[in-house]
């Protein structure tokens, strides 16, 4: 029987897509598999072992950097999400008003500038402040992370707000809800998935950052990515694979949650 004509079919597209997915996952798969290698090779299998995970867990520098990463990402994501939620409420669902376009441009600015430029700018700026104040704690990293997290948190929250039916809030006002009650009982519950998505996006973006962190950090303030970057310039052992595997697992867990939160809106 002849194959039914499929209007969507384009010759070769499926093959290319399959190759892309394969190529996308092969290196990651290899990376994860060799985290369980008994020997210290990254390409010759010498048997299964959890040895490298144990090594990583016992490595004080790794634990230290991981905790610092989580600490920075946690604080930066919370602050950025709150600021982004407020900004999203201020910039959506209104007739254009003076300064609205300016705000859009301003909030999205960190997305438009190459990271290396922002990194250099912060290096210069913060090194001045460090000299003036003598303070060289974590606050610099947290502030820097918060700033580049704001646009990432802002995007899903704004999208959610814009897809929200304005008549729902009108209905609330019609039913005697004051502006504050309208926000509390209608806007916020409906916005919540967007806020959650924004928070997770901000959290992951902060957790993943290498460039800005590498330039802004003071001595002894390695985050997990900058620690890994430092190690990668030396000899690479499967310990790196083990760290990466755990990191991957966390990312996948977050993206899974994000995916389901976002899907609910449909």
């Amino acid at each position: 029987m002849a194959r039914r004509f499929d209007i969507r079919r384009q010759t070769g597209f499926t093959t290319i897509a399959m190759i892309v997915f394969f190529a996308l996952y092969l290196p990651i798969a290899v990376l994860v598999v060799f985290a369980f290698n008994a020997g210290d090779s990254l390409s010759v299998w010498e048997g299964f072992s959890l040895h490298w995970f144990e090594r990583a867990m016992e490595n004080g520098a790794v634990i230290d950097a991981s905790l610092r990463s989580l600490q920075i990402a946690g604080v930066a994501a919370v602050v950025a999400t709150i600021a982004a939620t407020m900004a999203a409420l201020a910039t959506t669902r209104t007739e254009p008003y003076p300064g609205l376009t300016f705000k859009y441009a301003f909030i999205n600015q960190p997305l438009m500038i190459p990271e290396i430029v922002t990194a250099v700018a912060l290096l210069i700026f913060f090194s001045r402040i460090k000299i003036w104040t003598g303070y060289d704690g974590l606050a610099y990293l947290i502030v820097a992370h918060t700033a580049f997290c704001v646009p990432f948190a802002y995007l899903p929250i704004r999208a959610r707000l814009e897809s929200m039916d304005l008549t729902l809030e009108r209905a609330a006002a019609d039913l005697y809800a004051t502006p504050w009650n309208t926000f509390r009982y209608v806007t916020l519950p409906l916005l919540w998935p967007g806020i959650l998505a924004g928070f997770m996006l901000a959290f992951v973006i902060s957790l993943d950052d290498v460039v800005i962190t590498n330039f802004v950090k003071s001595g002894g303030q390695d985050t997990l990515p900058t620690y890994m970057l430092g190690q990668m310039r030396r000899a690479i052992t499967p310990e790196m694979n083990a760290i990466s595997a755990v990191f991957l697992l966390i990312s996948i867990a977050i993206v899974t949650v994000f995916f389901f939160v976002n899907r609910k809106r449909a």
Partner: protein
Amino acid sequence: MAERDALSLIEAERRRDIRSRWLLSTPALLIILFAALGPLFIVLVYSFLTPGDYGDVKWTFSTEGWVSVFLQRDIFDDTLTIADAHLTIFWRSIKLSLMTTVVTLIVGFPTAYFIATRSERTRELWLFLITIPFWTNLLIRTLAMLVVIRNEGLINTMLIRFGLIDQPLQMLFTDGAILAGMVYVYLPLMVLPLYASMEKLDFRLIEAGYDLYATPFRVLTRIIIPLVKPGMIAGSILVFIPSLGAYVTPSILGGGKNLMIGNLIELQFGAGRNWPLGSALSIALMLIVMVALLAYVRNAGSSGVKHG
């Protein structure tokens, strides 16, 4: 008079609304001003200062930073010649970024189309699969690429084991390695906007195309591509801009020799100890990005009108 009262009340209400909107956006604006946008102006200022002896700057005005972006001064006789090294790096950055954009577009287009034409349920899964790398640490993805292509890596090990080669192929520390790494790392940034515009594609238009005697290839070039052009442009800009400023991928896969602009900038703040030059290079990079963005905005503006 009552009319006037009502009017001024409405006007007052509107002004109050705008004021509270400014108040609400203040925290976000302040954070970005303080830790993203504001410091850029300091970079601009620094690009016109004199390098300090151990990094940092001396507060004397100088255009030397900008001059040495493209020219180099001979140590002995002060003559200026074209800075070949810098030009090579600029050229490599632009070339590799354009190539990355083109390659991701060529392989990303069929991939996005494949996802967009799946059934409602499996589409979610494929989308999920393309999203995971997007959320995965860029460093880890670069490391994964490094592990596969280095001399002791998977590819070389396999090739030697099967007797196809005797000596490992030198793939790492080449422009090709940087290109492969950037394609690998930035591909999701191309696929996602492409998918977004393909998802909205009205497949009845394709039916109409076939009904009017178009071949599959004609349908692709005359119907699908024009309709998803906004997605192609958005994806290209999303890939091009980070590629141009890439730092991690070239520094790991390109080694010490195959620098891109990002590495050149870093060098000035590290071993080079030439902060004004680094600042000038940063501003130059930003200007190139701005030009690309402006081109995008103009393009998006015109194609946005056409497709609603």
